[in-house]
């Protein structure tokens, strides 16, 4: 499978988002655009501020208040080990909206989703974390996070970028400067759960226009494994 195949697989996972609110909230809802989600709108009485959204596949997946949904638009900047911010509520929000193919994610929103997956890796403390960077400058910004993860846990960290770079060798940290065209076109991240399927997580996004990505995150073990396989194949 290629990255494009994986995006197509996710696009087939249909979801419905039913928004219940008494007043329109375009400042929140218009900022989310999806490929595989049907959005429906149902009115609530009065002028209550307590709007909420229900996510369904063929069954109820979960629900979220519209105010809480805003966190996803501008996630806080925090390292993956800061569990005062990247805590249970943060994780629950990302879990609710997994396998959704967003069409206009920005860098900050992808970083927010990445932090959730990296938090799982930090928490488990073992297993393999693979991260692909489109640009060396992006890798440079995140390098302190990954070197600390490698230093303070038993994680195996594999970092991919299309640029030539010779990092100082350190245990648990491997760099693949690769020439495959997909490395560099996609932002990807995967964590194999370190033996615990429930902790698996992955993210894949393609920058179609500057700072506008089509992408998704997932906690589906099969999809995470597929993404990891694809990354391994590309770099071998």
């Amino acid at each position: 499978m290629t990255f494009a195949d994986i995006l197509a697989d996710v696009e087939d996972r249909r979801r419905t988002l039913v928004v219940y609110s008494s007043v329109d909230r375009p400042e929140i809802l218009d900022r989310f655009t999806f490929r595989n989600v049907t959005v429906e709108r149902r009115s609530l009485p009065g002028e209550t501020a307590q709007g909420f959204a229900v996510v369904r596949n063929d069954e109820f997946v979960g629900s979220i208040g519209l105010e809480e949904l805003q966190l996803l638009l501008e996630p806080p900047f925090a390292p993956p080990w800061d569990e005062t911010i990247i805590g249970e509520a943060y994780c629950a929000l990302y879990e609710l909206l997994d396998d959704i193919l967003f069409t206009s994610l920005d860098r900050r929103q992808l970083l927010g989703a990445s932090r959730e997956i990296e938090n799982r890796a930090w928490h488990v403390g073992s297993g393999t974390l693979r991260a692909g960077f489109q640009r060396f400058s992006a890798l440079e910004t995140q390098l302190p996070v990954y070197t600390r993860l490698a230093r303070e846990t038993d994680l195996e960290i594999h970092v991919y970028s299309k640029d030539e770079w010779k990092p100082a060798s350190s245990p648990g940290f491997a760099y693949y400067g690769d020439s495959h065209e997909d490395i560099g076109r996609f932002w990807f991240l995967s964590f194999d759960g370190g033996g615990d399927d429930r902790q698996m997580g992955a993210l894949l996004a393609e920058e179609r226009t500057p700072d506008e990505f089509v992408g998704f995150w997932t906690y589906d073990p099969e999809l995470v494994a597929e993404l990891s396989r694809t990354v391994r194949d590309l770099s071998s």
């Binding site: 307590q50 909420f52 979960g62 509520a89």
Partner: protein, 125 residues
């Protein structure tokens, strides 16, 4: 006619809201069912479960999931909807899973609306 009958059915006040309504409104899930019916004449058991689950957990992020949904579905089906039907507030078709609001009197609408505004923090409504 006994004294109890008089109390249950106040003479000369056909619009009066029966005590059954107030009893029905003692439970949060039954109240939120009525709140939704302020706005919609009908719904389904599946949608109502989505609404009660989502609305009563607003502010808790995505902590509410499939297990909560199933629990709420079951109590709506076996407990709350029959009670609301007994209070003549709605008609529930178990086979179709459909729910229809009955003809509510103006005082009843007012009570449900007031309770809704108080409970959901409506500033103007």
């Amino acid at each position: 006619m006994t004294v109890d009958d008089v109390c249950d059915h106040p003479v000369g006040r056909p619009d009066a809201v029966s005590d059954d309504v107030f009893t029905a409104m003692q439970h949060r899930h039954r109240r939120y069912t009525l709140y939704f019916l302020l706005e919609h004449d009908s719904t389904s058991l599946t949608e109502l479960t989505d609404i009660v689950t989502g609305w009563t957990h607003v502010g808790e992020y995505g902590m509410v999931g499939r297990a909560d949904w199933k629990r709420i579905y079951t109590t709506l089906l076996h407990q709350h909807l029959p009670m609301l039907e007994d209070a003549d507030l709605l008609v529930f078709d178990r086979n179709e899973g459909s729910i229809e609001r009955t003809e509510w009197s103006d005082p009843l609408f007012r009570i449900v609306r007031l309770t809704h505004n108080a409970e959901t923090n409506v500033h103007a409504g």
